[in-house]
């Protein structure tokens, strides 16, 4: 024990909770559940002490996670072994310095800027976040939606992503995405263009621009929004990190929508995380002939994703019914909408060009004289029927050329 005490004394970061968390983010890969148990049960100081000193982690740490103590023992020992592999690389003071030099900061749980939603990840929650940008991350994502999708999206996917992003950011909702080509970039760009706030959750260190082609975009995001990562500065991307990063996008937003995704797609992992976290999940439909909509249709069919066709529906998904009016705009009411069966039957019996006497209308509509006369009066009031006197001196009825206009009619014979 005096040996381990000596080691602790020799590494200052091991005595600072924030730096210990920063170190932990270097030692373990994202979503290492065993690491999550240890951090949760022991706290960061005790966790890093075990890694530094290679002292066995108490088996109680795995309580409630695995049933058999021998399995717990093995998993904890294996964990300790794999975390120690990266000990030589750990230098959290330097990592913090790198990020601070870029105007960023380390954020740990319990701090104001920590997004509440991440706590829903349980032992899969990140030990800390590395953040660049002028806004508070927590404030920014309080009203937010993740807009994600295929990298190799179509022009349709790009357009819809942009429409959704500008539509929701117009309403003060933050757009969160992964900074990738395709749907992600279209969502970020449209938000920036609208003057909205966007958050990019990176799979590499926040000091890196990946993909390189988005360096200008990321620069804009850091100015007006936030760039965030769970891996320390300098970290490179791997497919594994991309997939794990997606759980952060799902957890820190109020809902996720997938714009375009192939049948097998990384964007579906974000969707799966959202569903597992009981976050509202939406998917944008597209042509069934497009393989890039197959993943979205799969989400709607098999995962119960809500079919999202415009920004209003997306706002409704994440903000809840009542906050948004979801009726369709631009669909004109038809003149005879809302007519009862009998009214419709009489209306349908009215000729368009020549007038028709009531007796004939009765036969066509299959309704008695008294009913037809009463309905005709109602239709006339609605501007849906007009009457005049025919050449034979008989009163006849017809349908006006512009139903519902209530104009007094001239007999169209």
């Amino acid at each position: 024990m005096s040996g381990s005490a000596a080691i602790r004394a020799s590494v200052p970061w091991a005595q600072d909770e924030r730096l210990a968390r920063a170190a932990w983010s270097r030692l373990v890969e994202p979503e290492d559940h065993v690491a999550g148990w240890v951090l949760h049960a022991l706290g960061p100081l005790e966790a890093v002490r075990h890694v530094l000193t290679a002292s066995p982690i108490p088996v109680e740490v795995a309580e409630g996670q695995v049933a058999r103590p021998t399995t717990a023992r093995r998993k904890l020992d294996e964990g300790l072994e794999r975390w120690r592999v990266r000990l030589a690389r750990v230098a959290p003071e330097r990592d913090v310095e790198v990020v601070e030099r870029l105007g960023g900061r380390l954020v740990v749980p319990g701090e104001d800027e920590w997004p509440d939603g991440l706590d829903d990840l349980g032992t899969a929650a990140p030990p800390c976040l590395w953040v660049l940008g002028s806004s508070s991350l927590a404030e920014t994502v309080r009203r937010s939606v993740a807009i994600v999708g295929a990298r190799a999206c179509t022009a349709y996917g790009e357009r819809v992503a942009a429409d959704l992003a500008s539509g929701v950011s117009d309403r003060g909702v933050t757009v969160v995405s992964g900074g990738a080509f395709g749907v992600d970039a279209a969502a970020h760009r449209a938000t920036v263009a609208t003057g909205g706030i966007t958050v990019v959750v990176l799979a590499c260190g926040v000091d890196r621009d990946y993909p390189k082609a988005h360096d200008q975009l990321f620069a804009r995001i850091r100015e007006t929004g936030v760039a965030v990562s769970e891996v320390p500065p300098g970290s490179t991307v791997t497919r594994y990190r991309f997939l794990q990063r997606n759980r952060l996008i799902a957890a820190m937003t109020r809902g996720t929508v997938v714009v375009e995704a192939a049948w097998r797609s990384g964007a579906l992992s974000t969707a799966t995380h959202a569903a597992e976290l009981s976050r509202p999940l939406g998917a944008v439909p597209g042509p069934v002939t497009s393989s890039l909509s197959a993943g979205c249709h799969r989400l709607i069919r098999d995962v119960g994703a809500v079919c999202i066709t415009d920004a209003g529906e997306l706002l409704e998904l994440v903000l809840g019914i009542g906050e948004v009016d979801a009726t369709k705009d631009g669909v004109p009411e038809l003149a005879h909408d809302g007519l009862g069966d009998e009214d419709l039957r009489v209306y349908e019996s009215l000729p368009l060009r020549t007038g028709r006497p009531v007796a004939s209308i009765c036969q066509v509509a299959g309704l008695p004289d008294r009913r037809v006369r009463s309905v005709l009066g109602r239709l006339a009031m609605l501007g849906l029927a007009q009457s005049g006197v025919s050449r034979d001196g008989e009163r006849v009825w017809w349908r006006p050329a512009h139903p519902g206009s209530s104009a007094q009619g001239v007999l169209p014979m």
Copy 2:
């Protein structure tokens, strides 16, 4: 009573159950619920006797339909009055003769050719059907699906309707539709072209071709499938009859799919009937930028329609899971699909171009030497990792150019 007996004697059709039903189909408009109560409670002979003699219909007929006897009395009296309006037009023997001359027949409930599904309509069931075609209607619709949609559909809607129709008819499922322009016609045509069976449910008499432009198509359908209507020969179409006709399409099929439909569309009425009858309901998604897919998306969002993207999914919808294999064809398995987390982390740590020693892989993957060596062995067996000896005499590993091909590698340095 002697007066009414005399009238009954003077009209032979009033003494024949089938002809009385045929007469009823002339007297009442489709889905006249009060007429449905009367026919259900009194049977066709007694029902037409009341119309012929204008004798008040017993108020008990409305039992269970309306709560207050005064309302029942009023509704029955109004019904009798409106049905009597068309008495002068009734000539069921002539109607049967017209249809039989065309090779058709009158079909009434209880007969072999009567589709069971129609009984689910209760008092909204038609009194009889007028049928043309060589197949038994009941047999034909036992395994059937309704494919319906917009008249003014897009090329996309036409293509999808045709794909679905030929796909399901290939599997011996009958395609039922309404014979209209657009989606309906595309479904009928593709079925005929595939050599499948299709049923057209008309809103006019079966002796009429509406729309006229489809006379050739209807002729083909009558040869190989069935044309059916609830209104007697000679009847013209009205918007009201189109809407009522849709309930027959929904009721006589095992499920309905809407291919394209505007936000407000007649095809949605078929969908609503299907939902009310607890028949499986599907809708084909499309671009959210297309107003002709808005109705389909509405069905998926608000009515719980299943998102249908191909014929396999449509078969699954109407035949039930198990009868059809719904896994996607044509999606290649990726080499690393199904790898565990640890395997994926090691796989991701393998370089593509240059070999990397195990120690370096351990650091990148964040896993101890023993685990990495075990995973590398597994990956090598799967053809996902290759090893060789570097110029320094060190064993190094890399990712093969064609993962999963299991080819023995040459060091790619």
